[in-house]
């Protein structure tokens, strides 16, 4: 059984053709393999996120995480880059979509790609996943506790001009949502509103909320880590991606 993988930092072309750093992990076994774009959380393109990317490769996905903070601090440590991005007002949705589009293209162009690419995001990455799934042609999307998918007018900004929930009519792939029942944003009320919107617009979705879990329950290096919720969540991810990213 071949369960080896390779992992390395590479350069891809993101929004407007800009060169940005990305972390790519690929199975060593013979393909073809589906691809997964991993959208990092607000603390940034960090060690924990790269561990998630490698996990996908172990499970026979080519996984790629674009460094959404690269432009703010090329070559900097993850924490310095995250701080620099924060100081400049954060990542505009348009720019994020462009960078993820570059990552999707890169994965589809791999010689051992099966042509299918999904996207998964955690925390702020979950919100960005929702935006991407409503904007780009990807084959499946997983939103892990993305806050501010439901956003009031006061919560919008020049970098986040549209509430992702208002993009729901344009959702173009099946969506898996994984949430903590004790999370404040997205709260159970927010999740219910998302479900209602998805139902009204006839979208394919599957939501799971975990009791005893709040925000960031997948983060193994944070006090928010919840073992049972994370174990169950990963099972849902493998089943969901297995169903929607299998080759034709």
């Amino acid at each position: 059984m071949e369960d080896g993988m390779t992992a390395e930092s590479i350069t891809i072309q993101g929004h407007r053709g800009d060169d940005i750093e990305a972390y790519l992990a690929r199975p060593l076994a013979a393909g073809p393999f589906p691809g997964v774009v991993v959208i990092h959380h607000m603390p940034g393109f960090d060690r924990a996120t790269k561990e998630i990317v490698r996990t996908f490769a172990v499970y026979r996905y080519a996984a790629l995480c674009p460094n959404l903070f690269h432009r703010y601090a090329p070559g900097a440590k993850a924490g310095d880059a995250a701080a620099a991005a924060r100081a400049q007002g954060g990542v505009p949705d348009e720019q994020c979509v462009g960078d993820v589009a570059g990552a999707v293209s890169h994965l589809r162009e791999l010689a051992d790609s099966n042509g299918k690419v999904g996207v998964i995001g955690y925390c702020s990455g979950g919100r960005q996943t929702y935006v991407v799934a409503c904007t780009l042609d990807v084959d499946a999307a997983v939103d892990c506790y993305g806050g501010r998918v439901v956003a009031s007018a006061e919560e919008l900004s020049p970098v986040h001009p549209v509430a992702p929930i208002d993009m729901t009519p344009q959702l173009r792939c099946p969506l898996l949502g994984l949430f903590g029942a004790q999370d404040a944003n997205p709260s159970p009320v927010h999740v219910a509103r998302m479900e209602e919107k998805l139902r009204v617009h006839g979208k394919a979705y599957e939501f799971h909320s975990y009791e005893g879990a709040g925000h960031a329950f997948f983060s193994v290096d944070r006090p928010s880590y919840r073992v049972e919720a994370a174990k169950e969540g990963w099972k849902r991810i493998w089943e969901f991606f297995g169903r929607h990213l299998a080759g034709s």
Partner: protein
């Protein structure tokens, strides 16, 4: 949850980082997920210099109560110096 709320204020002074002292001209303050502190949310204060290398900054992450205690300590320290001539507008350094 991600708060996305960030406050930036102009400041004047110096910060001591791993490479020594450097001038600071603004501070970024937010209550959100921390980089390092073992907290779900932290009050982060990032002392920065515009146009400097991204690694040239000094940051702290505090729990909410610690941040309030720090804010109180800052104000108390300033109030102990009763001479209000010390309060100059930011950017007026060196002006008579």
């Amino acid at each position: 949850m991600c708060t996305y709320v960030t406050t930036t204020t102009e400041i004047e002074g110096s910060a001591l980082g791993p490479q020594g002292w450097f001038d600071v001209d603004h501070a970024v303050v937010y209550f959100d997920h921390p980089q390092d502190a073992a907290l779900e949310h932290a009050l982060s204060i990032d002392f920065r210099q515009r146009n400097a290398d991204p690694s040239t900054h000094v940051a702290v992450e505090l729990d909410a109560q610690s941040a309030r205690l720090l804010a109180r300590a800052i104000l108390e320290a300033l109030d102990l110096v009763s001479d209000t001539a010390h309060d100059r507008p930011v950017g007026s350094k060196g002006a008579p």
